[in-house]
Amino acid sequence: MGAILEIKHVSKFFGGLAANSDVSFELAEGMIMGLIGPNGAGKTTLFNCITGYYPPSRGEVIFKGRKMNGLEPNKVCKLGMARTWQKVRPLAKMSVLDNVMVGALCRTNSLKVARDIALEQLKVVRLDRKADFLAGGLPIGERKKLEVARVLATRPQLLLLDEVMGGLNPAESEEIIQLILDIKKHGITQMVIEHDMKAIMRISDRIVVLNSGEKLAEGSPEEIVANQAVVEAYLGSEH
């Protein structure tokens, strides 16, 4: 299978700080790519560069063979790439259902169709009972689920999940893991940022490790666990 996403020599500078420097890798269609690295390694920055939140300072992002540099986030979403936010961004004064409908309206002009899609996505993340609640009032675990339901409603081919398990209890995390595996079964490619090593090893087909903005290693979960540099730079800092 071909690469759905190619990241070529991407760098991003904030003043003098290189939050990403010369990062390159490819994502094969249908796989789950884990993106790990210590705090401040540049994972979220890379997501921002890929989805057009801001353009990379150097390098290019190629999605489905198309160069994405400078494309606005809404166009990127329309092309089939959607992301969640590490710091969740619920549309607070709208209902849970309305939040997901906003996502669904990316593919339809009909409120009725959007409502059906949204209800279906809410069922998938088991949030349908809270459909009429205000999004701003949900506890963190449910806000994370809402993020996922909302991007799924945009019918993406590539899904970028930024720490959707952060702050969740083990039961909730397990639910999300099952959800991610389910999404994979539907043929949606995913890139997942996660600090929970057990989870990331379980779900990922491949893993890229970032450290201080640079790509430190790339490989299968087994290769990454056995990689001495990774153990020192990343795992070593935690254990």
Binding site: Y53, N74, W85, R89, L91, K93, M94, V102, G103, L105
Partner: protein
């Protein structure tokens, strides 16, 4: 028909109660001039309609889309000026001129939008104020076009005819009453249609979180500009209506910062981003401003015996309360923001639901 009603109602459709209320209110308002011919009562009603139109117009951009423009005087004034200039200098009747006003205002709005929408939050607010001030200065200084600070006086409004029959000669307040009522209903219905459409969902998403909305496939520039065009177009109608009703405009009365602030206050006091917020805001503000104008507050204090008319305090109140508009508005806004962050309407809803819960 049913789908139209569904669109007009809330998410669950238009309830029979809401339909009945609407019909009753419309019938009452339509018959009002048949039973009341007191010109002052009609005048206050016309001001109420005008205020509602202005509030509903701002609400589309400020309330639903979250772009707090404090420069809507620009659209109000440009609409008013276009209509008046066409009538006085080109003999184009106002019921045609006001649509030209809408067109001119929309062009102006697109220019303003392209400048201001690059900015967010307080910077957008400041830019909107600045641009409106530029429009005011243009009106003051482009004397050949606008007659500068002297303003424009409507010498005569041509009678409105269909064929050879004169429908109205605009000599009484009644035609203005019905025009105001129609425009107020028009803006309310437009707001309902917006709220229950894809556009409304996108506007509100932008209000809640621009970046999240952007990432969900919403073009920020396109939707902000659509909201602005709708909002500015309706504000322009309000301006034209005001100009023809009062018969005189000059820069301080239609292009001043006062107007911009007034428009925002209608919504803040009633409830931002709700269909009926501006109606409620107008119900509070119009009587208040009339009471201040005719010194009703001082009279009331004397009647209640809180102070005597001859005492030093009484004389002070009598002389100053009528001119204390700004102060009293200021106090009102502070009270509303502190105690009713969702406006009077939001506050009433909360009281209502709390009471219902208490009963259950």
């Amino acid at each position: 028909m049913k789908t139209i009603l569904n669109k007009l109602g809330n998410n669950r459709g238009f309830s029979p109660v809401a339909i009945s209320l609407w019909i009753a209110a419309l019938a009452g308002l339509a018959l009002f001039p048949q039973f009341v011919d007191n010109p002052y009562a009609l005048h206050v009603m016309i001001l109420f309609f005008l205020s509602t139109i202005m509030g509903e117009s701002w609400n589309i951009l400020g309330g639903y889309t979250g772009q707090y423009s404090v420069g809507h005087a620009a659209y109000f004034g440009v609409g008013a000026y276009t209509t008046m200039m066409l009538m006085q200098y080109r003999q184009i009747p106002p019921w045609l001129g006001m649509w030209a006003g809408v067109a001119v205002v929309m062009v102006v709005a697109l220019v303003i939008g392209s400048i201001c929408f690059r900015l967010r939050g307080p910077y957008f607010v400041l830019a909107s104020i600045a641009v409106a001030e530029i429009m005011r200065l243009c009106a003051v200084n482009l004397k050949d076009l606008t007659n500068g600070a002297e303003g424009i006086l409507a010498t005569e409004i041509p009678p409105f005819k269909i064929g050879a029959t004169v429908v109205t000669d605009f000599l009484s307040k009644v035609p203005f009453y019905y025009i105001g009522l129609s425009f107020a209903v028009l803006t309310i219905v437009a707001t309902m249609l917006v709220q229950h459409s894809k556009l409304g969902y996108y506007f509100q998403a932008i209000r809640e979180d621009q970046d999240a909305a952007h990432a969900l496939g919403i073009s920020l520039s396109f939707h902000k500009n659509v909201a602005l065009l709708l909002s500015a177009g309706f504000t322009s109608l309000a301006g034209s209506f005001y100009a023809i009703y009062v018969g005189f405009i000059d820069p301080p009365t239609v292009l001043a910062l006062d107007i911009s602030v007034q428009i925002v206050l209608i919504c803040i006091i009633g409830g931002i981003g709700t269909i009926y917020g501006p109606v409620v805001g107008s119900l509070v503000l119009v009587p208040l401003s009339e009471a201040l104008r005719s010194n009703l507050i001082a009279q009331g204090i004397f009647k209640l015996g809180l102070a005597s008319e001859e005492s030093g305090v009484g004389v002070f109140l009598k002389e100053n309360l009528a001119h204390a508009h700004a102060l009293i508005y200021g106090i009102l806004v502070v009270v509303v923001i502190l105690f009713m962050p969702d406006g009077v309407l939001g506050f009433a809803r909360k009281l209502f639901t709390a009471r219902n819960r208490g009963n259950a």
